[in-house]
C-alpha cells in the first residue's frame, strides 16, 4: 500500500528526493481524497435526504444574552418596572433571584428593521441591516438554569457531560468535505473558559475521529499543525516518507486498518502544508477586513474569528463554533450585575463581525448552504438581580438562524407579555438540533450510535423541525 495510490512506490521516492517543493507534493497528494476513502471514519457520507446546508456556523453567545434587550421587546415589562411579578405569569426558578425580586424594564430602544420590519434593539445596528436574512425564534427554552448543565444541553441535548455535541454528530453523520482542515472546529473566546468546559464540545461516546479541533488564539491556531522549532517542512516530509517506507518494508500483509493508518500520514502532511495558508487572514482585502472590524476595537478579535469562520466554510469545514464570552461572568453575556454595561460591551464586540459574516457569506454565494445559528445557553430574567442586573433564565428566550435554507425576515414563537415564558410555539433545544440536522439532510431518528444498551441520538426524544422558518 503506497502513500500515493496511483503511482509506483519507487518512482515516488525518487521524485521526492529530487527537491519537489512541498506545495507541489501536496497538490500531488490532492489526488487522494479523504472523503473517497471508504475506511476513513471521516469519509464523506450521503445525507439521509437532500441537504439544504453543507456547513453550520454557531455564533455562541456564552453566558446567556438577554432576549429582553435584543430581539424580544416587552413594553409591559417597562410599565411594571420595580414591581413584583403578577401572579398570572406563573412561577419560575432562578439561580439567584428570589420570589420577591422586582421586575426590571429594558433601557434599550427597538426599531422595526428591514423589509420584514422585525424589531431589533439598538444594541445591534449592524445586524439590524441584515435582519431580512434572519429568522428570529423568540420562544426557545431549555431545562436547566445553571450554566454548565444548560451549556451541555445546548450543545449535546443532555444536561450532563459525556454526550456527543451537535458538531460531533454532524461530522459523524456526514463526514468531512475537507482534506486540509479538520471537519469540526471550535474557536473559543481568548478571554477564558466556559463553565461546561471542553466536554461540551466533545465527541462523547463517538469515536475520537469525531472530536472537535479547538483553535488557539494567535497565528498558529491548530495544535500540532506547526512544526517543532528547528524542523523544516522538508525535514519532516522526509521523516513521513521514511515512516511510509518502513511500514511497507515491514509487512507484506494487506490489512485495512494498517493501510488506513498509513494514509493518515499523507493527509497529515497535506493538512500541514495547506492549512496555514487557509488560516492566514493576510490574503483578505482591506475592504473585507474592514467589513468585519478587523484592525479596530472592540471588534478586532471576534471579527478575526468570524472571518476565519467564513474561510473555514469556504474550505469545506462542516461545523464551526465561534464563541463570544469566556472567563468570569462579566466577560461573558452573563449580566448578573449590570445588564446595560455588560450587553453594551458584548454587543459592541460582536454586532459588526456577525453582520459582516452574513453579508460576506451572501455575496460569495455561501449563505444558501451555510446555516448560521446565534444564541446562548439561556436568556435572562425579567426580574432584576442586584438592582440593574438580570439572572439566568431558561423558560423563554431568543435564538436566531440565517442561511442554509432558512427563510430570513421571519419571527417564530413568542414569550408572554413580560418575556418570562415561551407561550407560542415553544422551541426546545432539541427542536433547534432537529432543525439543524434537517437542514444538513440528516434525519434525527436515523442518526444513532449504540451506547450502554441504547441507540443514542442527539435529540433523544423526538425533536420537531421548526418548519415555520424554512
Amino acid at each position: 500500500m503506497s502513500l500515493l495510490p496511483h503511482q509506483g512506490r519507487r518512482r515516488f521516492l525518487t521524485e521526492s528526493f529530487c527537491g519537489l517543493g512541498s506545495l507541489a507534493m501536496a497538490s500531488m497528494m490532492a489526488q487522494e481524497r479523504l472523503r473517497a476513502e471508504p475506511n476513513s471514519p471521516l469519509a464523506a457520507k450521503a445525507s439521509h435526504f437532500p441537504a439544504r446546508a453543507k456547513s453550520v456556523v454557531f455564533l455562541f453567545m456564552a453566558g446567556g444574552p438577554s432576549h429582553l434587550e435584543t430581539f424580544d421587546p416587552k413594553p409591559l415589562l417597562n410599565k411594571l418596572d420595580g414591581q413584583t411579578r403578577p401572579q398570572e405569569f406563573g412561577e419560575a426558578k432562578y439561580q439567584f433571584v428570589s420570589k420577591e425580586a422586582r421586575l426590571l424594564g429594558s433601557k434599550r430602544t427597538f426599531a422595526r428593521c428591514g423589509q420584514s420590519g422585525i424589531e431589533v434593539s439598538d444594541l445591534f445596528p449592524h445586524v439590524a441591516k441584515v435582519i431580512d436574512e434572519i429568522a428570529v425564534i423568540r420562544s426557545c427554552y431549555g431545562d436547566r438554569v445553571v450554566h454548565s448543565a444548560a451549556q451541555y444541553e445546548l450543545m449535546s441535548g443532555r444536561v450532563m457531560p459525556g454526550f456527543p455535541s451537535m458538531g460531533a454528530w454532524s461530522i459523524y453523520g456526514l463526514g468531512s468535505e475537507s482534506d486540509a482542515l479538520p471537519a469540526y472546529v471550535v474557536m473559543p473566546d481568548p478571554d477564558g473558559a466556559l463553565e461546561a468546559g471542553q466536554p461540551m464540545y466533545g465527541n462523547g461516546f463517538l469515536p475520537a475521529a469525531y472530536q472537535p479541533t479547538v483553535f488557539r488564539p494567535g497565528d498558529r491556531p491548530v495544535l500540532n499543525l506547526g512544526l517543532p522549532a528547528g524542523i523544516s517542512s522538508q525535514d519532516r516530509y522526509q521523516t513521513i516518507e521514511l515512516i511510509q517506507q518502513l511500514n511497507e518494508a515491514s509487512s507484506a500483509e494487506e490489512q485495512d486498518e494498517l493501510a488506513a493508518r498509513i494514509r493518515t500520514y499523507g493527509l497529515a502532511f497535506r493538512m500541514q502544508t495547506e492549512a496555514p495558508e487557509i488560516l492566514d487572514l493576510n490574503n483578505e482585502t482591506e475592504e473585507t477586513l474592514k467589513l468585519y472590524g478587523v484592525g479596530s476595537q472592540p471588534t478586532d478579535d471576534y471579527g478575526r474569528r468570524c472571518l476565519l469562520a467564513r474561510r473555514l466554510v469556504e474550505n469545506g469545514v462542516r461545523f464551526t463554533v465561534v464563541v463570544s464570552g469566556g472567563g468570569a461572568a462579566m466577560q461573558q453575556w452573563d449580566a448578573h450585575k449590570d445588564i446595560e454595561e455588560n450587553h453594551l460591551r458584548m454587543a459592541a464586540e460582536t454586532d459588526q463581525p456577525i453582520a459582516a459574516l452574513i453579508t460576506d457569506l451572501k455575496r460569495r454565494g455561501l449563505l444558501d448552504t451555510t446555516l448560521v445559528l446565534w444564541g446562548g445557553e439561556f436568556g435572562r430574567s425579567p426580574e432584576a438581580q442586584a438592582g440593574v442586573g438580570r439572572d439566568h433564565h431558561n423558560l423563554g428566550f431568543t435564538m436566531w438562524m440565517a442561511g442554509g435554507g432558512v427563510q430570513g425576515g421571519r419571527v417564530v414563537g413568542a414569550t408572554d407579555a413580560i418575556g418570562l415564558r415561551a407561550v407560542e410555539r415553544p422551541c426546545h433545544f432539541r427542536d433547534i438540533h432537529t432543525t439543524i440536522l434537517n437542514q444538513l439532510g440528516l434525519d434525527q431518528d436515523q442518526l444513532t450510535f449504540p451506547h450502554l444498551g441504547r441507540n443514542e441520538r442527539l435529540t433523544q426524544v423526538h425533536g420537531r423541525v421548526i418548519r415555520e422558518i424554512l
Binding site: 475506511n39 459525556g162 462523547g204 479547538v214 500540532n224 517543532p228 519532516r236 515512516i243 509487512s251 500520514y265
Partner: protein
Amino acid sequence: MRRNFTQLLVGLIVLAMPLVAAAESSVDTDGIAFFEAHVLPVLVRRCYQCHSDSADQLKGGLRLDSREGTLAGGESGPAVVPHDLAKSLLVSAVRYDGLEMPPDGRLSDDEIESIERWITMGAPDPRDETANPEKNRFDLKTGRDFWSLRPISNPPLPVITNPTWPRTSIDYFILSKLEQAELQPSAEADRVDWLRRVHYDLCGLPPTVQEIDEFLSDQTANAYERLVDRLLASPHYGERWGQHWLDVIRFAETEGFEYDRTIPDSWRFRDYVIQSLNAGIGFDTFVREQLAGDEISEEDRRLQVAAGFHRLGAVRRNAGNQEVSGSRNEVLTERTDIIGSAFLGMTVGCARCHDHKFDPISQRDYYRLQAYFAASHEHDVPYVKSDNVEAWKSETTRVQREIAELTQLLANKGIAEEKATIAKIQTLAKQLPAAIPMVSSVRNDFAKQTPIHVLRRGEWAIPLDQVWPQPPEVLPLGSSSVAPRHASMPRTALADWLVDRQNPLTARVIANRLWHYHFGRGIVPSPNDFGRNGMPPSHLELLDYLACRLVMSNWQLKPIHRMIVLSSTYRQSSEMANAARYRTIDPENRLLGRFTRRRLSAEEIRDSMLLLSGQLNREIGGPSVMLPVEEELVKQLYDPSQWKVTEERSQQARRSIYLIAKRNLRLPLMEAFDQPTLQASCANREASTHVPQALELLNGRTSNDLADRFASHLAGLAAGDSQSQIELGFRMATGRSPNPEEVRLAKAFLERGAHREFALAIFNINAFLYVR
C-alpha cells in the same frame, strides 16, 4: 402550553357529557398529565411531610402518597371522592373551610383551583401499578430463560478431533468451534511476537532488549510458564489491569461540570485498585470493598478508600438557589447506573423512566436497586489518625494567627518596617503544614436517608410508590434474603447478592471482561450489556467454564489470566493461515482462528515512548501528576489555577495511569488515541484511526521531546554505530530485529545525520504502534 390547555378543555367537555365511562380511557392521559403537572407537586411539597410513608409520624391516619390512600382517606373520612367536590375532605381542608390544611400556610388560589379541577375530572391518579401502562410488558419466567440470566453451567470439555493442539482447557472450546466451521487454527506465533504481546497484555509495557534476550535463550520446557508467572507477579500487572477497571467504573479525580472540583486525594482509590490487583485479591472481596468498604470497617482507611467508588461519578454543583432533591436524585441515579454497567452487565439505567424495553427489568426494580444507596452520603475523612489531625489543626491555627497579627500590624506600621514584616509573613506562610491527607469516601447516615420512590418518567418531582432495597425480581435472591427495610448495612447486602453463587451475571461479566482485554473482543462483544440488546456470546460454554473456574478458585483473577495467555488460542500468530477462507467465513475473527492484531492504547503508546527513551519512572503509586500542557488548554478550564504542573522532571516521566484523570482537561495525546471521556463507564475502547493521531505523533510535544531522548539514548548505547543503533531501535520498539530492507532504508536516512528524526519515525511506524 396553549395546546395543553385546549386538550384540557376538550377533556372537560367530554367529562361533562353523559358518556363519561366510554370517554374515560381517552381522557386519562391528559388527566394524568394534569395531575402530574399541577396537583402532585403540591401534594409532595405541602402534604407528604405528614401524610405519606416517609412521614416521621403519619397524621390523622391519612396517606396522600398513593391512590388508595387518597381515596380511602384517614380518620375523618375519604380525602377525595372523584367528581364530587363537596364530599372531598381535601377540598374543604385546603380551602381552610373547617380543617385548615396545610397548617403552615394556605395553598395559593391557583393550587386550590387545580386540586378542585382535578377532582372534577375524576381524580385521575397514576400512582399505582395497574395505572402504569408500561407495567408487565414482560413475563419473568420467559425473562429468566434468556442465556445470561440462566444459571451458570459447568460444561465438560468439548470433544475435538485434533487432541495435540490444546495446551489449556479453553483451547478445547475454541478448537471445537473452529472444527465445526472447518477452519484450522493459525500457526504458533513467533516467540518474540508472543513475548511482546504478553508483556503489553499483562503489564502494558514492551519487553526490554535484555528481557527479549533472556526469553529467547531460555530453552527450558516451562519457559513460557515462568515468564507469565513473572509478569503476573510484577507490580506493573496492577497498573495495566487497574486501568481497565478504572475505565469500567468511570474513574476520574475531579467532579466535572462547571467547577470540576478535585475529589480530595482520590488518587488513593486508583492505588487501591492497583494494589488489590497486584495482591491477587478475590474479585468477590474486591466488589465488597468497593461497594461497602465503609460498612465493613469504620476504622480501616484502606476500606474507606475503596468505598470511594461511589464518589467517582461526575457531580453537578451550583451557586445560588439549590434544588436539593433534584441534585440528590442526580447523584443517586449515577450511583445506581454504574452498578448495572460495571457489575451486572445490565443496562438497568434504561429502566429509570419506564420498564426496560428489552430486558426483564421493571422500573420498580430500578428504584429498588437505587434504594440500597438511600442512606449513602459523601464523607471525607483524614487519612491519618485523629490525634495527628488535632496536631495539624493546632499548628495550622497557630501559624495562621501569627500571620493575621502581622498583617494587622502591617496595616498600622510605617514604611520602614514594612519589608521586614512582609518577609516574616512569607517565612511563616512556608511553615503552614501541608494540606492534610484525605480520603474521599461515603458513609450511611440513616437520619438523612432519602425516601426512594418509583419516579414517574424518572422525574424526581413525580414520586409514585415508595420502595426498599431489593434485587431485580428476574434474578435469584441467592442465599441473601431481601434486606429488611432499615438494614444497617444496605450496601453490604447488595455486594453479597452480587457475588452470590446463584447470581448468574457478576461472574460471567468479569470473566468476559478478562477475555475482552486479552483478545480485544469479548466472548460477549458488548461487555456492559448482557441483555437482549447486547450481542450474544460466541462461545457460551467457554464463558460459563471461565466463570465457573473463577468462582471455584475463590474469584482469583490471576489463574484465569494464566490459563488464557498460555493457551494455544492465545499463542496463535496474527498472520492468517488461509486468509481467503477466513475472510469469507470469519472476517471478524469471532472464532479466534488467529490472534487479532491490536493498536496500542494511548497509555501504552506514551509509556512505551518513555521506556524507549530511557526516561520511564517505574515508581508505583502516589499523588497524580499534572504535565505541562499548552497554555491555551489550561485557559479552557473554568478555574485555570486548578492545573498545577508537577515540576519534577522524573515525576513527569511516570506511567500514564498516574497522570491526573481530570474530567475537564484531557491531554491531546491521550484524547487522540481514544482514552475514554471519563464521564461514564467505558467497557470497550475504540481504536480509531484518524489524521490528528498522525499529527500528534509527528508534531506533538510528547513524541518530539521523547524522540530527542530516544535518539540520545540510542547514541549512548551504540555511539557512532548506525547499524547497531538501527538494530537496537527496532528491537526496543518492535521486539524484533529489522529486516534487510528496513536496515537499508534506515541507514540511508541516517547518513544525513537525522538521528532525532529517525527516532521519531520509529514512534510512528505500525510495527511499533500495533501488537501482533
